[in-house]
Amino acid sequence: MLSLLVENRYAVTASVLFAVGFLHVLLHPDLIKKVLAFNIMDSSVFLLLASRGMIAARTAAILTDGGADPSRYVNPIPAGLVLTGIVVSVSVSAFSLALIQRLYGAYGTTDMRKILEEMKKRGE
């Protein structure tokens, strides 16, 4: 059991990070903290993808000394997927932060519960 945990340490770390981020998304009342928690979840997925792409005794897929021997390089696909993921995560964070800024302008707080109360009070 323990040896299995050590063997797959990156995947285990990634799953724990994912769950921690998820818990914060569910529980934290502050919207900005929710966005941060989303970013933690994103990072955990990137960690899992990048660690799956690693193979012992192989290097990143940059053909330096002329040789294109496939048994010397790792798969370039996980790196490309992480790149895609980073772009999407940046875009989503920026968009949600802009929405939060508008909410702050309207209600003067980023706390979700206070915003809901205020909405109820204003009868919206």
Binding site: R52, A56, L83, F95
Partner: protein
């Protein structure tokens, strides 16, 4: 218990209803019902917190149990160690002219995917612009007021006089060497955007606006996206993987620069819209 009975009877137990029902008229709402509401909401939140913690512990257990069944980290039997590596690493240099297989791959074999990414960035920037545009007059006055009183930071200005040219050169180096070394459009564009942001922080936004006006900004990001679309169309029309390696290298290079332009304008746009509400 009573809420369970309510649920059995088909009534909604929670204050947060999924379906829309007519709101109760305001006259009936006395102080007592409001206190009732509040107590109900607090009870719901407590149950919600417990459920969330239980759910997350279950999630950790499921994910860790799944992770334990994966092949060991960095062992040669991993699912990523497949025929794709042999195909890409073996023929990337001949087909795309790129020594950096990742850059060659995302711009050739997965070129449509990268085009989608550029579009995502573009749309995100448009959304941020739209959302923060409405607050523009107020923000603009505020920014103008703060600009007047903010003295220029002497140390920062001196450091940035030295640093910004180096950063720009480094960004261009990453951008144009993307197919030979680590880097490419995304990282090069991010570094160029960081250089612009540093410049704006050190010398104030007007100095940037002298050469990077709204018109230039729009032109850069739209032409980047269009350049990508047109050149990738040309590349596919000419025969994609079949064309000669020298031509492929030139095309990939220009597409990379187009991606860099989009990323650069997006990075600086995010900074500008969040701090000033305008460019």
């Amino acid at each position: 218990m009573s809420s369970l009975r309510k649920w059995l009877d088909g009534e909604d137990a929670y204050p947060l209803r999924a379906e829309w029902t007519a709101p109760p008229s305001k006259k009936k709402r006395t102080r007592k019902t409001r206190a009732d509401d509040r107590r109900q909401l607090e009870g719901f939140l407590r149950v919600y917190a417990v459920c969330a913690v239980v759910l997350c512990i279950g999630l950790i257990l499921c994910l860790v149990l799944g992770a334990l069944r994966l092949p060991a980290f960095a062992s040669p039997g991993n699912p990523t160690d497949n025929e794709v590596v042999r195909r890409y690493v073996g023929s990337a240099e001949a087909e795309t002219g790129a020594e950096n297989v990742v850059a060659g791959m995302i711009l050739n074999y997965r070129g449509f995917d990268t085009f989608g990414e550029s579009c995502v960035l573009f749309v995100a920037l448009c959304c941020v612009e739209l959302l923060l545009w409405a607050t523009k007059p107020a923000l603009r006055e505020e920014a103008a007021a703060s600009r007047k009183e903010a003295p220029r930071d002497a140390i920062l200005a001196r450091v940035c006089t030295l640093a910004v040219p180096c950063v720009l050169v480094y960004g261009l180096c990453i951008l144009f060497n993307g197919h030979l070394s680590p880097g490419g459009g995304f990282s090069g564009g991010a570094v160029l955007g960081a250089a612009l942001i540093l410049f704006a922080v050190a010398f104030g936004g007007e100095r940037v606006r002298r050469f990077f006006t709204q018109r230039v900004f729009d032109a850069v990001r739209i032409s980047g996206l269009l350049l990508y679309a047109v050149l990738f169309g040309v590349y596919v029309y000419l025969g994609a993987n079949g064309i000669e390696s020298g031509l492929a290298r030139v095309l990939v290079q220009i597409i990379d620069v187009a991606v860099g332009l989009v990323v650069m304008s997006t990075m600086y746009g995010f900074y500008a819209f969040y701090t000033k509400g305008e460019l």
